[in-house]
């Protein structure tokens, strides 16, 4: 992949006394969706958090658009153009939906055109605009988390399991919005356990196991090879 917006080279991360990432090498292509798949505990979330600077790698290099970012703090990394949707959504419950969105707009106020798109994708957010985010349902919180990341254009979006614990109808809403984001040419690195969603959105795939990338390729290749899916992720292919 020559035009990688993000490149990880031999990234190793420890959390307390545990070695979690054992040398992750990964290229994330520009203008495409890369799905980061793997079993629970493979190191997917740690990879995203390490990229975001929330955990510091003790070895290796992370390059955003060719410039190293692994020595920067999370705020500096975010300001380099990375939007982050964490696994736990990271919603500020005491703030209103509006305040959550306004906080994410680094330039001040949200761009009206972008806000219109958010309301179109997630009508619930308009309804609960002045309500405390803590009163939203799980699905609405996830919508808010995604909306917060996309309220301004970013170089790259890191999205961690957006479908986790959500009803199929809500997942469909999120998938539609993420597909729209993809069609706008966004670069996305997304962790996802729901293989149907991963297939629907992903252009490229990286599969992790035991803190390493064990396979990379195109999603079409993985989606069409049930044997490969079972070998890499232990998936039985009734979902294919």
């Amino acid at each position: 992949m020559s035009d990688a917006i993000l490149r990880l080279k031999g990234v190793k991360t420890d959390i307390a006394q545990y070695h979690i990432l054992h040398g992750v090498d990964l290229d994330v292509p520009r203008g495409a969706v890369t799905m980061l798949l793997g079993r629970n505990g493979a190191g997917k979330t740690t990879t995203l958090r390490t990229i975001m600077g929330l955990w510091k790698p003790h070895q290796g290099e992370i390059l955003l658009d060719g410039a190293p970012i692994n020595g920067l703090n999370p705020a500096q990394i975010a300001r380099r153009g990375i939007g982050f949707v964490p696994e736990d959504m990271g919603i500020f419950s005491d703030l209103t939906v509006e305040e959550n969105i306004r906080l994410a707009a680094l330039s001040g106020q949200p761009i009206p055109e972008r806000l219109d798109w958010i309301f179109e994708a997630f009508p619930a957010l308009r309804t609960f605009w002045k309500s405390a985010a803590g009163t939203l349902s799980g699905g609405q919180k996830q919508m808010l988390s995604v909306a917060r990341a996309v309220v301004e254009d970013r170089e790259l979006y890191l999205i961690d399991e957006p479908s986790k614990g959500l009803a199929p109808a809500i997942v469909a809403t999120l998938a539609k919005a993420l597909k729209d984001l993809k069609n706008r040419g966004a670069s996305i690195l997304m962790v996802e356990q729901n293989f149907s969603l991963a297939k629907a959105l992903g252009d490229h795939v990286a599969v992790m196991d035991d803190g390493r990338i064990i396979w990379t390729g195109r999603m079409t290749e993985l989606a069409s090879d049930t044997g490969l899916q079972e070998r890499l992720m232990g998936l039985k292919m009734e979902t294919a």
Binding site: F92, S93, L106, P123, T127, K176
Partner: protein
Amino acid sequence: MTDSAPTHAPTMTKLPLAERLRPWLPVLLVPVLIVIGYLIIPSQSSWLTLTVSGLAMGMMIFVIASGMTLVFGLMDVINFGHGAFISFGAFVGTTVLLALGQMTGAPSLLLNLLAIAGAVLAAMIVTGGMGWAFERAIVRPVYGSHLKQILVTMGGLIVAEQLIYVIWGGHEIVIARPETLKGAITFAGAALEKYRLVAVAVGLIVFLALRLVLRRTKLGLIVRAGVENPEMVQALGYNITRVFVGVFIAGSALAGLGGVMWALYQEVITAHMGNEIMILVFIVVIIGGLGSVEGCFIGALTVGLVQNYAAFMEPKLALISNIALMVAILMWRPMGMVPVVKAK
């Protein structure tokens, strides 16, 4: 996966009145206490005097405690050294007021207020600077460890108190109130000390200013979000460390302001005065809800009123009144009156 996703436009139901009023119940606590005071205190003029006195005391405690609750809420730091900023503020302010004796002794409200403003400014600059140094040298190495925080901030408090002995000596200093703030005005048959009315006004201004900053500015938004989930605030692009330091400095400066107010309230200062007030400050911060400025305000007024009413009705009761209040409120609301949601 289908493209034709449902829109999920939600419908909203109106909550019952009792449910809507529930978050506001703590706000009613202060007027309810005042009404109870009216019913149990035999003389109306005594009740009015005690109420103003309680509100003034509460406002001063609020000014001191507001910084501490924000520091605890945002940084998860238990700062026992906060008392040092109160004492230092009182000593610096008193030194300025004594130096401006001609202004404080003049029968001119303007000159008196200018002298107080000078004292407050000096106290806030010194304690703000101390707060900056305290955060860098003492608190920063122990982020995340409450036990270490208690130990080192307690140590910092002892060092600061000893510094006061070195600079100002071991004796207590008497400070008279400025000329026009001495004495009382009579209202509805009750004697209301002028200084206590000023203290109420200053406390109210500080509360409104803090609320304005926290509710209406981007900085306030960052602080409120940071209290809940500092990690996510960073991931959105805001340098939370700078916000931490800023809040610590502001909190220390507010303690300095409170120190000057308390000095003029008591008209005598000692090196350990901050340490003594800290018991009330901790009660206020805990019953208010850690990290909540609104809770701190309600808690401070409640503590001030209960202490004054109890001292009047049964002086021996005053000693345990605030502890009893804390127990009662924590049984009612274990997370404090206005709890702040923290990210897990």
